[in-house]
């Protein structure tokens, strides 16, 4: 027992078993979040009172598949459970959380936890999904086989934890728990034996209707070394075609709405600073970013759908061979896939990689994957410079270019990883084992919720960071005002204009004008802001008939094709997000790695843009 304090229970389980939902359901708002000493692994502690009035402290440990501890997260879980993590008390009991729809994964962990010898409860989470799928689990028999109490929980539903609380009340918590434990690192033969034992228990206690056979049949096609890769490429290709074609009507509608609102507000307000701030700064800048909401929603619709269907794990399996060829560990696939949304969760997800060099190589290349913040920039330039026509018998050329940009990100990440892992750090690759979930129909409510969260996050970002940045950019592009009698656009006299003109010679060799240079600076805070900045800078640069024009036709008129291509290539490689660098600093606990990342990405972006601008210029003249 922890002195006079409440007994402590450790919540252990495989990743994505609903452990954190259960923790939230038990503790509500009574939570403390910090880091374990010396590592960037999050420590979540909470408290609750059982129905019998017993106060309990509960620790939500990082997800793990076993106590062997291969990554920093898994090592923390193992050391806490075994009572050997400095500064942590030995837990008085363990609650093992299992995804009841994928019981096989957790049974081996349960067998290991049993060997530790602490009082334990097995919480079968997501039992509602098992029932909906027509599956059955013989709770009584499972409890007898494992020798621990087993309860059903539905952590996401109110009241889904009553049985668990009752079981905790029944646990024989000792006044002074022993510090020794009966666990030791298993040998390969013992792991195989545990596999067999888990399979036997599963066979005796659980029934899942014909899904496994369906999964095996589908896997024969989807995991085929040739057809599987072709299908994966086709799925990704269709995804980017859809992002471009399906989004257009909604984008046009949003654009028309924002323009109409801007005109209406402009007519109401008298000519002056406030009108310029709202029309040129807020409506032109934030509006230019908001237009891309439909594309973000469509991209995530596909990602969530494929993830829920169980295809993303297959994609990881298919990519493993390719990634192994570049020296990346198979576990790098999930961090790299997460980086399609944003490099930050991708870099954080690299914690699952145990080898430090493998982990750093993954972190270094994660920002090269095309994050969703690049989407508005790509879309704007592609729509302005790539003709809207079909090629190769019906494929949209714009979607094809978009696919190419995403592919360029992936290929460059693999190429950099190859250089790091095969040339700089030569090491034998470690084996990669992953469990493939059964295929299941995505739940519409889950897909809808996922889209709602992501659309909400995009809108929140537009209404906070992007709005604030656009206000600042408007100020820097408006002040100081030009002196009396000055000619040309007023923005030339402003702080932003002067910075742009000052830095322009540095970027002139890659075809960038001063307006682009101005857009690159706030783009360091958020990449997509560059679109808004270009809209504001061109709105404030406009004279006479140009005033009020949409950004796309302005770019078509002002930029050459080589400049547009160079800008696109810059965005594929450039280190343009301060938050990413900050997270790399935090995750690697070093200033060296973010510095290396910034330097290599800047050099790569400059060299690639230079080559693109020069080659395109030579070919087009």
């Amino acid at each position: 027992m922890n002195g006079p304090a409440a007994p402590e229970i450790a919540l252990v389980g495989c990743p994505n078993s609903g452990k954190t939902s259960l923790f939230n359901a038990l503790t509500g708002s009574r939570q403390k979040v910090a880091n374990y000493a010396g590592v960037t692994v999050e420590r979540k502690e909470g408290a609750f009172v059982t129905p019998a009035g017993r106060p309990i402290k509960i620790l939500d440990l990082p997800g793990t598949y076993s106590l062997r501890g291969r990554s920093p997260d898994e090592i923390v879980t193992r050391d806490v459970v075994l009572g050997r993590l400095e500064g942590e008390e030995i837990p008085d009991a363990v609650v093992c959380v299992a995804d009841a729809t994928n019981l096989r994964l957790v049974l081996r962990l349960v067998l290991e936890l049993k060997a530790v010898g602490r009082p334990m409860v097995l919480a079968l989470n997501m039992m509602d999904i098992v029932a909906r799928q027509g599956g059955r689990i013989d709770i009584e028999r499972l409890s007898k086989e494992l020798g621990v109490p087993v309860v059903e929980t539905v952590a996401v539903k109110k009241g889904g934890t009553a049985a668990l609380l009752a079981a905790i009340d029944e646990l024989p918590l000792l006044e002074d728990p022993p510090t020794e434990h009966g666990w030791r690192e298993p040998s390969a033969a013992e792991i195989r034996a545990a596999h067999a034992e888990a399979a036997r228990i599963l066979h005796d206690c659980a029934f899942h209707p014909g899904n496994e056979q369906f999964t095996r049949k589908l896997d024969r096609v989807l995991l085929h070394p040739v057809f599987g890769v072709v299908i994966l490429l086709a799925v990704l290709f269709l995804m980017f075609q859809a992002v471009f074609t399906w989004a257009t009507p909604a984008m046009d509608l949003i654009k028309a709405g924002i323009e109409a609102a801007g005109v209406a507000v402009g007519e109401v307000l008298p000519d002056g600073l406030l009108r310029s701030l709202i029309v040129d700064g807020v409506f032109a800048g934030v509006g230019a970013v908001l237009v891309f909401l439909p594309q973000i929603v469509i991209l995530f619709f596909f990602i969530i759908l494929l993830e829920d269907f169980g295809y993303m794990a297959r994609a990881a399996f298919l990519m493993d061979r390719l990634m192994a060829g570049t020296g990346l560990h198979g576990r790098a696939f999930i961090p790299l896939l997460s980086s399609f949304a944003c490099a930050i969760p991708g870099i954080m997800a690299a914690r699952v990689i145990e080898n430090r060099r493998d982990r750093i190589a993954t972190i270094l290349v994660a920002p090269l994957m095309t994050c969703s913040a690049r989407l508005p920039v790509y879309t704007l330039i592609v729509a302005a410079f790539v003709p809207d026509r079909t090629v190769f018998g019906g494929f949209g050329l714009q979607g094809l270019v978009m696919f190419g940009l995403f592919a360029a990100g992936i290929l460059s990440a693999l190429a950099v990883a190859f250089v790091v892992k095969k040339i700089v750090w030569r090491e034998a690759p470690e084996p990669f084992i992953m469990e493939l979930p059964d295929y299941k129909m995505p739940a519409p409510a889950n897909v809808g919720l996922g889209l709602w969260i992501r659309a909400g996050a995009f809108l929140r970002r537009a209404g906070t960071v992007i709005l604030a940045l656009m206000i600042l950019i408007w100020f820097l592009s408006t002040f100081p005002a030009p002196p009396d009698g000055a000619t040309g656009p007023a923005i030339d006299w402003s702080i932003a204009g002067r910075i742009g003109h000052f830095l322009a010679p540095l970027f002139e060799p890659i075809g960038f004008n001063w307006q682009i240079v101005v857009a690159l600076i706030p783009g360091m805070a958020a990449r997509e802001v560059a679109v808004g900045v270009l809209a504001t800078v061109y709105a404030l640069s406009a004279t006479g008939d140009e005033v009020g024009q949409a950004l796309q036709p302005i770019l078509t008129a002002e930029w050459s094709l080589p400049t547009a291509l160079s800008f696109l290539v810059w965005y594929v490689f450039a280190p343009q997000c301060l938050s990413t660098l900050a997270v790399v600093r935090r995750e690697t606990e070093s200033r060296l790695w973010p510095a290396i990342m910034f330097a290599y990405m800047f050099a790569l972006a400059y060299a690639a843009s230079f080559a693109t601008y020069r080659i395109a210029g030579a070919l087009l003249t």
Partner: protein, 54 residues
């Protein structure tokens, strides 16, 4: 209120928001603002696992 004062107030507000947003977590903790770890429960970029730091 004077139009210039209003506009400058908006600009200062936006600047203060950005400074607080992008101040390193360690510095925030030192000057008594949040320690940064609370971000771990947000989802600022809309991605599962994002610590909401931008």
């Amino acid at each position: 209120m004077n139009e210039t004062t209003l506009v400058l107030g908006i600009v200062l507000g936006a600047t203060a928001f950005l400074v607080l947003r992008y101040l390193p977590a360690g510095l925030k903790a030192r000057i008594g603002l949040k320690d940064g770890s609370a971000c771990a429960t947000k989802s600022g970029c809309g991605s599962k696992g994002c610590d909401g730091c931008h």
